[in-house]
């Protein structure tokens, strides 16, 4: 492939990756930025979505000459695999949340989640019969691949469109939740858990809710990604990937969807993918390691000099009820002056 079509494919690839990263960042932002839940196993939920979408699209493992082994395997039409994947993310979040979030304080929750992430990769790698081990599942048929030619440029742009629809839906859902009374309760819990309990908020329930919603969103991002690259293996979801998303949020701005967008553009898309375009100056593993060095430096830099990120959380300003506007007291006049 060369010339104009070549650039089309680069643009398509970057945009789909951006979309996947944006969906993931919005989900993590709801969990961490809004509700303060430190989910260091976030990438596991993306993997749950990717594996589930793959299993429900790839067909039984006897297909393709039986070169891969996995549990189940169905061939359902699009968009069923994506929908099932999203639900799976939410379902898996329930037991993980019950074990990890219910009785522990937030710093310990973070540790448990990191361990969950390590356990999940180890399990998948050590039981090759489960999800084809470290080789992963490949030859996942592209969504709508039987109706359209999946290697055409047109299909690529159609996929960008699908990704954009998912981004937009997630954006709308996250924004609506954050603005609702539920969102306010999440922010109160983030600011002070003990006091939140004392004013009548069921902190365990609030944590579980945000964990389940975030899990579903993460899973959707995985489903979108696996449909595009048609393969998924443990390399794609090692625990440091979660930190790339955390960096994106810290850079972009916690608790702000625009911040999540800025972060998704800058960190996982430009920074991590951009590094791979640098000329190789030493042995290849060095430039790979360079990604994580840069991530670390960026996190520290932002936490020191701009801890609220590029686009900080916006204040939720409410106008006084109409009644007080018609009867302004001295206090109101003063407020208008300031």
């Amino acid at each position: 492939m060369s010339g104009a079509a070549g650039w089309d494919f680069v643009a398509i690839t970057l945009l789909v990756y951006l979309g996947v990263n944006l969906i993931a960042c919005l989900g993590l932002n709801l969990q961490y930025g809004t509700a303060g839940v430190l989910n260091f196993a976030f990438i596991v939920f993306q993997a749950v979505g990717a594996y589930t979408a793959a299993l429900f699209a790839v067909g039984p493992s006897s297909g393709n000459g039986g070169f891969q082994t996995y549990v189940g395997g169905w061939r359902l039409p699009f968009p069923l695999p994506w929908i099932i994947a999203t639900v799976a993310g939410a379902v898996v979040a329930v037991p993980v949340g019950l074990v990890g979030l219910r009785r522990l304080r937030s710093d310990y929750q973070a540790m448990v989640m990191l361990v969950v992430s390590l356990i999940a990769t180890t399990v998948v790698v050590s039981f090759p019969g489960f999800l084809n081990g470290s080789a992963g599942i490949s030859l996942v048929p592209p969504p709508l691949g039987t109706l359209l030619n999946p290697i055409s440029v047109g299909y690529g742009w159609m996929y960008v469109g699908l990704t954009a629809v998912c981004c937009l839906s997630v954006f709308v859902v996250v924004a609506a939740l954050a603005r609702s009374p539920l969102g306010r309760s999440w922010r109160a819990m983030r600011d002070n858990e003990v006091v939140a309990g004392a004013v009548g908020l069921d902190v365990t329930r609030l944590r579980m809710l945000v964990f389940v919603v975030g899990g579903a969103i993460a899973a959707l991002s995985g489903a979108v990604l696996v449909g595009f690259i048609s393969a998924w293996s443990p390399d794609a979801w090692l625990y440091p990937e979660t930190f790339a998303y955390f960096t994106a949020l810290i850079v972009g701005g916690l608790g702000n969807s625009i911040g999540a967008l800025i972060g998704a553009v800058l960190v996982p898309t430009l920074l991590l993918e951009g590094v791979t375009f640098l000329p190789t100056f030493a042995n290849p593993t060095v430039s790979l390691g360079l990604q994580w060095i840069i991530i670390g430096v960026v996190i520290i830099g932002f936490l020191w000099f701009r801890p609220r990120g590029i686009a900080p959380e916006r204040k939720n300003v409410l106008a006084p009820p109409a009644r007080t506007l018609t009867l302004p007291g001295a206090g109101h006049d003063k407020a208008d002056m300031s």
Binding site: V173, A176, L177, S180, P181, L182, G183, R184, S185, R187, A188, R190, D191, N192, V194, V195, A196, G197, A198, V199, G200, L201, D202, V203, L209, V213, E313, K315, N316, V317, L318, P320, P321, R323, T324, G329, G331, H332, K334, A335, S338
Partner: protein, 253 residues
């Protein structure tokens, strides 16, 4: 005989190996304001935590209007009508003052995923009612010009006020106040006292930990005296103030 608003029986709690609350029993009818005084380290705040459920006792019972709430978490006791303030400022720093108040109101529609997304008209209507009440309180405390400020940016006294208002948002039946006057200038103290007086007149049952004896004398019908995790006396202010321990703690300093 009417059911007591709050009944505490043989409550015990250890903190770091020390028995901070060592078997306390008392009961409060609905209506009066009860003062809880005693030297620093007597266990007053621990007792407040045990009653509110933010701390768990290893023995003893707490009854709210006859119902045993000893095993209930703090949020359930709050919904059962028990509100509290904290000794240290406990505002939600990155919520505005108005949000700090409104978060204490329950709204069944707006606090589920489904309701938040698909029953917006319903929860917006409920929000309007809650906002109305919050503005009323803010006006009474003359803090309405701070309504949309982040609570974390307020002065210590203002934070204290926000906490009391937040406690009142849910229309509690019993209000626990942990040193409402601490660290507040005399003018504002006067305002808080006046406001508490009006709550008392409205018939709200209050239990108040306070070192400011003037306020205790003015507001409290009964005073409980604590020392070393035990109740060492109770009665009218004029009676307990004569007790040796009280004199030692408050007058001899």
């Amino acid at each position: 005989m009417a059911v007591a608003a709050l009944e505490v029986e043989e409550l015990r709690c250890t903190l770091g190996g020390v028995e901070a609350v060592a078997g306390i029993s008392f009961s409060v009818r609905e209506g009066p304001t009860v003062g809880l005084i005693g030297p620093n380290g007597a266990g007053k705040s621990t007792l407040v935590g045990l009653i509110a459920g933010t701390r768990l006792p290893y023995a003893g019972t707490v009854r709210l209007f006859g119902e045993d709430v000893s095993r209930l978490p703090a949020w359930r006791r709050s919904r059962a009508g028990l509100a509290r303030t904290f000794q240290l400022s406990s505002e939600f720093a990155r919520l505005t003052v108005l949000e700090n108040l409104m978060v204490a109101c329950r709204d069944e529609a707006g606090e589920t995923i489904w309701g938040a997304l698909f029953r917006r008209r319903r929860w917006r209507a409920v929000e309007r009612v809650h906002a109305e009440r919050a503005w009323e309180l803010l006006e009474r405390f003359r803090l309405e010009h701070k309504a949309n400020e982040y609570a974390g940016l307020l002065s210590g006294g203002e934070k204290r006020m926000v906490e009391i208002m937040r406690g009142l948002m849910s229309h509690p039946r019993v209000l626990l106040l942990d040193e409402p006057m601490a660290g507040i200038n005399p003018t504002m103290r006067e305002e808080i006292a006046e406001y508490l007086w009006s709550l008392k007149r409205d018939g709200l049952t209050m239990i108040m930990v306070e070192h400011e004896l003037g306020a205790v004398e003015r507001l409290c019908d009964t005073v409980l005296v604590m020392a070393n995790g035990r109740l060492i006396g109770q009665g009218k202010y004029s009676e307990v103030i004569e007790m040796g321990e009280v004199v030692d703690a408050y007058i001899n300093g």
